[in-house]
């Protein structure tokens, strides 16, 4: 389907997985954000390449929109929040960086095992789907093992990329409306998180979610 050879596709997938793992390994929030931006650029490029290959103008337009919204607006918004909150470190909890990378590797292996039966239909997308699931796992792991709410937002964004990729490889092009909706959804989500972070900063003077324990009834 995609307009380039298998080796090129594998290279792109390697970059996607690698950036995901690097997000897990990042010590500074800003690094994780940068890795995520790189990943999103490549996801968008994948979509645009698909559009060019199929001569589908609307997919190309959508890819460009995705590039602008996700790789452009969201990083700017999040950077601003980071600057106002003066947050630097990701705040490891439960697992240190190295250990989380090991767990993330394990989860990647797990995702290969899990997707085995699903790939009986399309052996050539084996890597793509497995890596998509692996990204979802990495996102959840990231959310679980970091204290700063901004990292959790990045986790959600990582999961979103994973879901997008899974959809891309499984369905060969979801209805455009659904993809648009999903992209818009995450944009709105980030705006809400920006407001929430502001509230958290005002209330707790930090983005550490451990403070929210006091909200428990």
């Amino acid at each position: 389907m995609v307009g380039f050879s298998d080796s090129t596709l594998n290279l792109v997938l390697l970059i996607l997985l690698g950036s995901g793992l690097m997000m897990v390994y990042s010590a500074r929030v800003i690094n994780a954000l940068n890795w995520w931006t790189i990943q999103t650029v490549f996801v968008s490029l994948l979509l645009i390449a698909e559009g060019i290959h199929n001569d589908a103008t609307e997919i190309i337009i959508f890819g460009i929109l995705l590039l602008i919204a996700k790789a452009g607006i969201i990083p700017i918004l999040l950077r601003r929040v980071l600057k106002t909150s003066r947050t630097v470190w990701v705040g490891e909890i439960f697992l240190k960086r190295a250990m989380s990378l090991v767990v993330a590797g394990g989860l990647t292996l797990l995702s290969y095992v899990i997707t085995e039966p699903m790939l009986a239909l399309h052996p050539s997308y084996r890597n793509g789907l497995a890596i998509a699931i692996a990204l979802i796992f990495c996102g959840l792991l990231l959310m679980m093992t970091r204290k700063i709410s901004m990292v959790q937002v990045l986790g959600v964004l990582l999961i979103d990329n994973g879901i997008f990729l899974a959809g891309f490889f499984l369905t060969q092009g979801m209805p455009l409306l659904v993809e648009l909706g999903a992209a818009f959804d995450i944009l709105v989500g980030v705006v809400i998180v920006g407001i929430l972070s502001k509230q958290m900063l005002e209330t707790y003077d930090s983005l550490n979610v451990d403070h929210m324990r006091s909200l428990k009834g």
Binding site: I114, P117, F137, L140, R213, L215
Partner: protein, 646 residues
Amino acid sequence: MVNKESQSVRQLLMSISVALAAVGLVWGTFLISQGGEWIKTGWRFSTDAGAGLSLTWKMDGLTVFFLFILLLGQGLSSLYAVGYLKEYEEKKKSLVSFYVPWFLFLGSMVGVLLADDGFTFLLTWEMMSLFSFFLVLYEHDEPQNRKSAYIYLVMTHVATIFLFAATLFLQAKTGSFAFQEWANVVPSLSTIELNLIFVALFIGLGTKAGFVPFHIWLPYAHSAAPSPVSALMSGVMVKVALYLMIRLVWLTLGPGPVWWGWLFLIVGAFSAVVGILAASTQSDLKKLLAFSTIENVGILTMALGSAFLARSWNSSWAMDLAFIAFFWHTLQHMLFKTLLFMGAGNIIQATHTRNLERLGGLLRRMPKTGFAALLGIVGITALPPLGGFWGELMLFQSLWENTIHLSDGWSKVFLPLAIGILALVGGLSIATFVKWFGISFLGQARSPAAASAKESDPVQTMVPLVVGGLAALTVLWPAMTLALINLPLSVIRTGDVIGISSSAVGKPLLMSSVYLGVILLLTTVIVLLTKRATRKVTATWNCGAALTPSMQYTAGGITNPIRVLFAKVLGSRPKVKGDFAGTQYSLRSLTYTGSVKEVTEDIFIRPLIRGLLWSSAQVRKLQSGSIHLYLAYLLVTLVAVLILGS
């Protein structure tokens, strides 16, 4: 001042309630006097409930008997309420939240009695629970009453879960809600299924009836409700639960194994003893009566147990005796408990306290209430001339009859034991009510409130006397009472139906009027003879000192021997503290603090609640408040679903 308008509303609504009851009674009497097969086989009718469903109803002799009890209770309590509710009007408390649940409560009880299928039964049953809950909650200004109402609500709902289980199980087995269908399928059920259904019904209905250990709500709810409501709940509602025991267990589930009878007998005996022991140590006017209701439900359950045993052993003689005892005592207990709750209501309105330690000397100030209460006490303690005695006598005979008919050795040990327990309960109930009457009506006033008490409204003194008169009438004209009891008996008994009054079982009862007549005659003669003699009334001699209220028995003191004797069972913890003012001989003051607790509550209910709270706490640990943990649940779930799915 009482608002004219609300006064007329009260009189109008309560008159409607009384009139409805009266019309029902007259119409019912007319229908029955016509006779007919329907008394035995039932007369069915149904209401369309929409969606192709209909609520089915059935009226037969058994229903008619309990409807009679209900309508009589309704009429008397409503009439009493005309006077009783005046106080709330004076306090400017809205009565709307009394009237609405009052009528709906009565209506739903009629519905429960008439229901002929599981769905209708559960619907009306839940309505009955809910509206009685609202009535208990009527005086919700006091936190104590709110607590009582909530205990009642929780217990009644837990019980209903069991009823739902039994009903839905039978529905799944038969594909129908109709009782008749259930009865047809029962023979094909396995023993385990049958026993499980029985246990579910026993717990579900037993909670409402107040079997120990499911009784804990009863003393709270019955004493927190306004007096007319207490009278209805104690007199009628617990009987509705017993009615369903007969309808669902006896008539639908059939004979069943022998242990059902034993269970009824043992739980009944246990309830009677626990109920009366708790009553004897109470110093709350209405709680004491509520505990006595538990005792009487226990006696009724023993009668049911005796009937079940007699059926298993094919002894129709003992079964008839047990059922006559059951229905006779049901009627009598309704009358006497209604009367006593009305008496308690009068005392509470006159003195504004329920604490016996603060009453005393009321007989001189409230003579009519006192006389009526005395009638009620003679009845409820089963003293000879009035009806309570005859019911318990029949029960004794039935138990004895069962003992003779026995082949199995265990029963020869246990049945006489049950007879002994019944005798013990009778004795304790006399002690209890001597205390209830003696402390509140006799002696000197123990508080200014009691000293300034005034006789109640004429309606409120007239109705208890009417109830007492009715109770005397049931004994004076036993043929009528037996004709009424014959109605349910003709449904329950299979085979030939002869009027009880002409059968050998009923003959001794016909003598009851003679005994009453003789005693009345003797009393009259004695009164007339002693009137001639010269009497001289002087002050009680007290070694020259003046009499003070503190010289008399206290409510705690009069039944202290019982408390000492049954210390283990009552969980009694007496503590006596003397202040010797530094010397060894002169005593300045002596303080006695004693407390009893409900041991059954400690044994059955508290561990249950503790277990429930513990498991809830375990589940609550999942909700730690940590976002990371919540996300971990998400990850684990996702991985698990993906692994399981592939």
